[in-house]
Amino acid sequence: MREQKKKRILVWIGVVVIAFICLSPFVWMLVVSFAERPDFLASEKIPYVFTLQNYKQIIGTRDLHVMDYFKNSLVVAFVVTVAAVVIASFAGYAVSRMRFKGKMAIILGVLAVSMFPQISIVGYLFKLMTAIRWINTYRALIFPYIAWVMPISLWILVSYFMQLPTDLDEAAMVDGANRIQALIKVILPLSAPGIFSTSLLVFISAFNEFMFALMLTTDYHARTIPVGIALFEGLHGQIPWGQMMASSAIASIPLVILTLIFQRYIVQGLTAGALKE
């Protein structure tokens, strides 16, 4: 019993510590985003004044293009998510249920690709996009992103598909359906959680991506919000932290909401296949 109690206390201490570690930077971001002056901790003489002006400025000032960046990120991430799920579903179905030559090679190839460092790709990608004049367009990001998220998408979807017995396909085909119809009408509905997990992880991945966006976009027409925030600087050493934190808060909203609401699916996606022995 003593040990039970000791454990209880330790756990609760642990909870407080964890909450503090994980949340304090996030809370700090919000606090500064609503501050009139970001340096209010520098001295007692500088007060903390709550204000909405940072948000008003970044939303209202066209020159700053914060909302453009945000829009670009949302559009690109959404298109990539939909495309990646569709493409990976097709491919995942083939891999998990069909027999053909070169299966292992393709599987290993795609998995190997997840190891590649972006720096080994971005230089050539830049030259390629330059040559076909795609620099600073949505498509310059969409296509590489889809390729980049294929490993994780396939990983999750294939592990879901594999859990479904092949009798289902056979039953459908006996009823006169072809492969594609079997996929669409039978397998996919049953894999809905897997599709959902994949969508979430792909969306998060595409939204967050930095290096490609940094090199392949040049202005507000296609630049995404991570790059916009990273390049958001001030004058002669005076960085506009208030506005930067406000931009950061806005950029965080979609992801935080998605994570909080759908954490179950995210967790399932992350652990998919990792535990199957």
Binding site: D63, V75, V76, V82, A83, V86, I135, Y138, T218, H236
Partner: protein, 437 residues
Amino acid sequence: MGKVFRGLAVAVVLGLIFGFVFGGVGVAANTTIVFAVGGAPSEIDYWHKVISSFEKENPGISVDLLRQPMNTAVRMQTLVTPLSSRESTPDVFLMDVAWVGQFAASGWLAPLNDFVSKDHYDLSVFFKKTIKLADTYRGKLIALPVYIDAGLLYYRKDLLKKYGYNHPPVTWGELVRIAQKVQAGERKHNPKFWGFVWQGKQYEGLVCDFLEFIVSNGGNILNRKGEPVLNSENNIKALTFMRDLIHKYKISPPNTYTEMTEEPVRRTFQSGNAMFERNWPYAWGLHNSKGSPVKGKVGIAPLPHFPGHESAATLGGWHIGMNVYSKRKAAAWKFIKFVESYKTEKGFAMNLGWNPGRQDVYKDKDVIAKAPYLKALRKVFVGAVPRPGVPYYTKLSDVIQKYVNAAIAGKMTPKAALDKAQAEAKRIISQYGGTTK
């Protein structure tokens, strides 16, 4: 579910079409040129005013201001990317004088000579040395100076008088003596007081300060042939002096080499805690702004030099250039001329406190009335020394920053530091020094 899936497939196709057709480079109007510039909100607002005046005088041309971040390194990167990929926009942009070299050698700047001769454009109104050393590449004019910066010595007029001096120091030795005396005296009631504050942190600004010290002792980074001469005797002496300011004479604070950039230096002086300051002209307006503890007590002078040599000031400032891939060069040239016009340049001086790239504005009555110190500054600007205008300057700068900072921090002897810097500079030049001016 099948319906949903079909719907999704349609969404994918639509999305890709959307991405293809609409996403990205905007559809341009007839003659719109894109002008990339960064700066403080007040400066950006002023640029908008300049643009509206231009558009009024040139109906049919509209200027799209592409706002950039202010940090120089980041600003350069956001220009390097479109220029490397041969984008036609931005058509016109401002460049830090430190990167004009790289841009010119990379072939990104449109030569302006034809425009100049066709319009009989008068180049003599600009600072000759600047045009020759910074804005010309292989005989072609590729940029024009919008505003000039050069390192200055700020000093406390009141303290100078209080301790019995009647003019600011001319040699570094004099500066040390004055600074030590004032520091000793002021420390009695202000323990945070320092004799001389300057930029020593490991960043680009350190190279500017370093250049001033060494050139004022007859040395330099590269010689006339473009060869590195970092470890010359003169340079070693100058660097030793820089180190001694902190460790031997103790008139410069120990955080000089860990924190001191433009703003910390300015704030130290402005809060009344320093006798001498090395900084750019921008500090003047702030020192004399409402509420500044040193308002009205500040004097400016050329930086001191070592005996037998001359005062040196590092050339800073921003220049305007034209994208060689621009599809609207004629309109771009009109805009450049407008920005460099007497009226606009005078406007920069009067409204933003900038030091114009045109010499003639310095003689303007209104300008002199508003900023009397500009007359003195003009002399400094005429002799300002640019950093090496080589395309690989950033790499060279990294090396200099590293070793100079190590020397003034006392981690290496000045001779060892400069020997190493010289060796690495040689390596860099053998890698990248394919062509010289």
